[in-house]
Every structure is written in C-alpha cells, then in structure tokens.
C-alpha cells in the first residue's frame, strides 16, 4: 500500500493551515511548501493510479464507517485518471508562477499560493468523493478559492468579474442544495452508490426535477451554455496562470460531476440526448463568439467553453467509443489549453488591453514562446501529427458508429471556425511586421515558466506521435464509467465492517 486517497485531501488542508505559521519563519517557505505539497499530490495520485490499474478500485472509508453511512472516497480508473490530470496541472501552474509574485508584497503572495493549492485540492475532492453533500462542500472550497484568485489583482477591474462569478456560483450552489434536499427526502441517503442502487424506486417527477437542479448547479463549473457568463470575464481578469488552472482543473472537475450524475446516479435515458443538445448549443455559440473576440484571453476562454461543449456531445453519444473520445478530449484539452494560456499570457505580458492586434510580429523577438503558442494552436484545432487530431478523430468515429450525421457535420464546421481564429493569431505573430506603436514590448519568460511550458509541449508531442501511450488508460477509464453495477458493488461491499 503506497498511501491512501484521503491523503490527497488531508495533506493540502494541513499545509494550508501550516503556511501562515511557517511564513513567519522564512518567507520563501510560503512559495516552496505549496509546491512540495502539489508535487506530493502528483506522485501520490500517479502511484495510486498504477495501484488501481493492477488491483482494482480503492474505496476508502472515513472515520471507520463503511460506505452507505460514512463518507467514502472512490479511487477508480476514471477518478484516478482525472485526479492525476488535475494534480499534474496544479503542479505545473505552481511551477509557472513560482517567481511570479516576487515583485509583490508578502501578504498577497502568501494567499496566492494557499488559494492555488486549495483550488487543486478542492477539485481533487470533487472528483474522488463518493458522497453528494461532500461533493457540494468541495465545490464550495473550489469556488471560494476561484473567486479570490479572480479578484487577485487590485489594479485591474477584477472585482467585477469575481462578483459576477460569485453571484452565479452562489445561485448554482443553492440549486445544488435543493437537489440534495429532494434526493434525501426521497431516498434517505447521500451516498452516491446507494442513491444509484435505489434510484429506480424514486418517483419520476422528483427524479427529473432533481436532475435539472443538479445540472444547473454543477453546470456553472462545467461551463455549460447558459451558465458560462462568468467564464470569459474571469479568465480575462484573473492572473495569467489562473486561467490555465480554471481550464485545466475547475472545468474538469465540473464535467466529472455532471457525467457522474448522468451516467451513474440517474437512470434517465433522455439525459443523453439532453447532453448532446446542450453540448452542441454550447459548442456553436461559444465558437462563433470566439471568432469575434478582440482580446486574446477572451478568445481562449470562449474556445475553452466550446471544447467543453464538444466533450459533452461526446459523452452524450453514450457508447464506449463516445466516452473514450470524450475522455481523450478532456485529457488533450487539459494539456493544450494551459500551454496556450501560459504562452499567451507572456505574449501580451506588457500590454494593458491584451488585444490580439498587439501581438504583431512578436515571433521575431520571442521565438520560443511564440513557437509554443503556435504548437498549441495547431494541436487544439486538430492538425494531424499533434494531440488534438486523435481526439477529434475518435469523436467523429464514435458519432459515425451511431449514425449521428448532424453531429459530425456541425463538429467539422466548428473545426473550420476554430482554424480561422487560431490561425489569425498565429499569422499575426509570425507574418506581420513588428510595429513600435501598436505592438507590445516583448517580455522574456522566466526560467521556471519555460520549464512548465516545455513539459506541456513534450506531453502534446508524445500524445500526438504515440497515442497508444494513453489510450489503454483511457479505455479502462471509460469502461469504468459505463460499469454502473460495478461501481455500486465496489462501494457498498467494502468487505470490512466497522473496524472497532
């Protein structure tokens, strides 16, 4: 036994309480300790994932009460994969922003790293918990860290974006509580596996109402169409690396919560069609809005929303191939979008407005960063040798197997739109003349930022040239998601009864 999933939550919480104390001893520790914790989480999640691959799902009880009564953590192929993605990105974001607040006072820097760590811990908690109310608590932890990080720069207008995000997040968590109340009033339990096993006894009216409230409640983190008003503002106003953390960490956890509801908890067949519809609407609206954006980060934000729509469409197909494609998309998006945010935030580093028109000719001055941005753009639109190609291909084949021609057509059209707006930026970077009045002053990336970006670029190339490296993992994760009775059995029959 290498460790336990509960340490993924307990260690960051302990560190969060310790950091204010040790910050009084030596200020640099405030930056180092969160990094160590995130590295520990990364190592732990990877070793646990290997363990799960060999010996099957780990179900961890808390306080000695077995599954339906106490809270339990489920570390299976699916949740382990997502937890690994989340912790990897958390660590890379830390590495990218290690020296980032060097020029700022000590107090804000301390809080920046605490919030970053808690954002990652909360998202991990959302993914690995097996209890709906506990998931609500972790959603709130993630949410509060995200609001605080959005409002981090006092100079910008970030408080508005944060307030918007907070308003929507607070309404959404209220809806989530209503859904939890309905489920508890009907089934008398809060454990996901027991809810799933008892769901067929529930009145269909309550079932539908509860599902609607759940999806509105979680859709805010997953950036589903009518609920994503916060995203562009928050991505724009937050510090650069935090945009990457939102795209890689928060959204992944939100999507996981939605699909866990639809696939495991509620047995409503129409929900899959609902996912396809809402996903397509999200995809089309977001991509066509992204085309019209003038600010770089806003464009990336809308592109991120569009990708999430595509993920929902792929999940909505519902077959093994569809789920596989969706997970592949999530993995790719989690690798590529942070690279775009990292390199993009260095491209417009010295600019006040962060417009796309200001990046003209920057390829000459900062070739490495610009090259990485181009690599990310090629990968995300799905050019053949890079990572995005394989995931988009698997979406198309999965849709073709089910005969969903409309989906295929729309996805292809949207891909063309994506190519247009990403290549517009790449074209400006490399083939436009540098103009002293309009363009920004180039800013050389720091050493730690270059390492973080290079790691992501290597990941993209590895997945692109050798996709078999990840497909095995993704296949076992997708069969894990579709295996509902296996989940219930694993959680409810832990074997050991009360330890004392």
């Amino acid at each position: 036994m290498v460790g336990s999933p509960v340490l993924l939550i307990a260690v960051p919480l302990l560190a969060a309480f310790v950091i204010p104390l040790i910050g009084m001893i030596w200020k640099e520790l405030v930056r180092i300790v969160p990094g160590l914790v995130l590295a520990y989480m990364l190592v732990l999640s990877v070793t646990l994932l290997v363990e799960v691959n060999q010996n099957g799902t780990i179900v961890e009880t808390i306080a000695g009460w077995k599954a339906p009564w106490g809270i339990n953590l489920v570390y299976s192929n699916l949740t382990g994969l997502l937890a690994t993605i989340i912790t990897t990105l958390g660590f890379l974001v830390w590495m990218f922003s290690y020296r980032f607040k060097r020029n700022v006072d000590f107090e804000p820097a301390k809080k920046y790293f605490i919030f970053l760590m808690m954002l990652v811990a909360g998202a991990t908690g959302i993914v690995i918990t097996g209890d709906i109310f506990n998931q609500f608590v972790f959603i709130e932890i993630t949410g509060i860290s995200a609001y605080a990080l959005t409002a981090f720069y006092t100079g910008r207008n970030s408080a508005e974006a944060a307030f918007k995000y907070l308003m929507m997040g607070s309404l959404a968590s209220s809806f989530l509580l209503i859904a939890i109340a309905i489920i508890y009033s009907q089934l008398g339990t809060l454990n996901m596996a027991e809810i799933a096993s008892k769901m067929h006894t529930m009145d269909p009216v309550f079932k539908v109402i509860a599902l609607i409230f759940f999806i509105t409640g979680i859709g805010i983190e997953a950036e589903i169409f009518p609920l994503n008003g916060w995203a562009p503002d928050a991505y724009t106003e937050a510090p650069g690396p935090i945009g990457a953390a939102f795209a890689g960490v928060v959204v992944k956890a939100g999507i996981y919560a939605v699909i866990r509801m639809v696939f495991t908890l509620f047995d409503i067949p129409a929900a899959h069609d609902f996912l396809i519809t809402i996903g397509l609407i999200t995809l089309i609206v977001a991509e066509s809005t992204a085309l019209r954006q003038e600010k770089l980060k806003r464009m990336l934000a809308y592109s991120s929303i569009g990708q999430m729509g595509l993920v929902l469409v792929a999940f909505g197909i519902g077959t093994h191939a569809g789920v596989f494609a969706a997970l592949f998309l999530m993995l790719n998006h989690a690798v590529i979008k942070p690279l775009l945010f990292f390199s993009g935030s260095y491209l417009v580093f010295n600019s006040k407005e962060k417009r796309i028109s200001e990046v003209n000719g920057l390829g000459k001055f900062m070739p490495y960063t610009a090259g990485l941005f181009a690599l990310g753009s090629f990968a995300i639109v799905g050019l053949p040798p890079f990572a995005g190609f394989w995931s988009k291909l698997s979406v198309l084949t999965a849709a073709a197997d089910e005969g969903l021609l409309l989906v295929i057509a729309l996805v292809l059209i949207v891909s063309v739109i994506e190519i247009v707006y990403y290549f517009r930026v790449v074209n400006r970077i490399f083939f436009q003349e540098y103009n002293k009045e309009e363009s920004v002053v180039p800013h050389k990336p720091r050493f730690n930022a270059i390492i973080a970006m290079t790691v992501l670029a290597i990941l993209i190339l590895v997945i692109g040239f050798y996709p078999d490296a990840v497909t095995g993992m993704l296949h076992s994760a997708s069969s894990d998601l579709l295996d509902k009775s296996g989940y219930i059995d694993n959680v409810l029959q832990v074997g050991q009864s009360l330890i004392r």
Binding site: V6, A10, A63, G70, E107, Y112, V137, I144, F206, I209
Partner: protein, 231 residues
C-alpha cells in the same frame, strides 16, 4: 418590463417547486432504510455521544466538517486578499465614533459572561444542543461588542492567526493519528467513556473544541478586518 418577465419566470419556477414539495408530505417517517436509524443507534451504542447531530457532524460526516472549516478559513483569507491595500494608500478616517461611558462599562461587565457562555457551549457540544460553530459564533459576538464599545480595542492579528492555524492543524493531526492508529481518517483512537459524561465520545469532544477555537478566531478576524476597513 424586465420585472414583469422576472416575475413570470419566478411564478413558473415557484409553481413547479411547490407542486414537487407539497407532494412530499410533512411529519412522518418517509423512508424505511435511511441512514438516520443507523446513526441514532450507533451514536449511543458505539460512540457514547448524547447529541446525535454532533456525532453526525464530527464523526459520521466529519470530512464535511473539515471541509467546512476550510471554507471559513478560505473566506477569511479571501477577505484579506480582496481588501488588501499597500501601506501608503491607507486612509485615516475611521467609521466609528466614540461610545458613551454606559456602553463601555456595560460591555466590560458582559464580555466575560459572553465568553464563558461560548466556551460552555462548545465544551458541551456532545452532550447538549450546540457545539463548536455555535460557541465560536457566540465568542465572536463578544469580541464584536468590545470592538464597538472601545474604538481603540485591538486584537492582535498574529494571535488570531496562531489560534486559527493551530486549531486547524490539531484537527487534521487528530484525523491523521486516527489514520495511523485505526486505518481510516478521523478514526476514534481514544476510549469513548460513558454516555452523558463530560469526558466521553473519544476524539469528538476534542475536535469540537478545536472547531470552536478556530471559528471564534476566524469570525473575530473577519469582523475586525471589515470594521477597521479605512476608506
């Protein structure tokens, strides 16, 4: 126009919510195999805790409480970081004006009583209604009273953050000790004592006292930083 639209949407939403919940019924046991009966049974027979709500909050769903304490901690940190100002742009005008002698001496008399009540409530959290959150909130109102009565009453930020961090650390460390001793996080590793005595329930009492300290420190810090917000 906008208001009319909003009222229309709300009316529809309210109709469906009311339809759903009026079919729910009130005041009878609704499900046969809920977790509730198990909790009520095990609270007495295994945990030796009188207050079932406390046993649920601290033991059965103790992980929630850990998360909840973290939410408060994060809220206080967020308040500090959102309202943060560099030294040189801090104004000098305070929003408070001096209070009268009656209020001053009255609050001096009441303050110890309030603190005592708060401490009583969180120490007896596993026996009587109440617990860490309630007791902590009461203690924080005592500090609020002092802050309002004496405009130059100061609470040391360092002390607050020491108390807050130490209480949180002890909570997590107790959980980890249970993990080392019994194999699961937050496992009880102390003798659980006799029902309805002060020293019963194993780690539950200790954890709730820590929660009380933490909540008191956090709420006081929260009030303090908003009250002394110079504008």
């Amino acid at each position: 126009m906008r208001k009319f639209l909003v009222i229309l949407i709300l009316a529809v939403l309210g109709f469906y919510l009311f339809e759903a919940f009026s079919g729910l019924g009130l005041g009878f046991p609704r499900f046969e195999h809920g977790v509730k009966d198990y909790y009520l049974d095990k609270t007495v027979s295994e945990l030796h805790v009188a207050n079932t709500v406390t046993s649920i909050v601290v033991s059965f769903r103790g992980f929630d409480t850990l998360g909840e304490v973290t939410v408060l901690f994060l809220a206080v940190s967020a308040l500090g970081s959102v309202l943060y100002k560099r030294r040189h742009d801090v104004g000098s005008r305070s929003i408070l004006f001096a209070s009268s002698g009656i209020v001053r001496s009255g609050s001096k008399l009441l303050f110890p009583a309030i603190i005592l009540l708060g401490v009583y409530i969180f120490i007896h959290g596993h026996l009587t209604p109440g617990g860490g959150f309630q007791g902590g909130a009461i203690i924080a109102t005592g500090f609020l009273l002092m802050l309002l009565a004496y405009e130059n009453f100061r609470v040391s930020h360092h002390v607050l953050s020491y108390v807050e961090s130490l209480a949180g650390i002890i909570f997590v460390v107790i959980g980890l000790l249970g993990f080392i001793d019994g194999g699961t996080f937050l496992q009880n590793f102390l003798p659980s004592g006799i029902l309805n005595e002060l020293f019963s329930g194993g780690v539950i009492g200790i954890i709730y006292v820590m929660v009380g300290f933490k909540v008191a420190a956090e709420l006081t810090g929260l009030i303090y930083s908003v009250l002394h917000e110079k504008d």
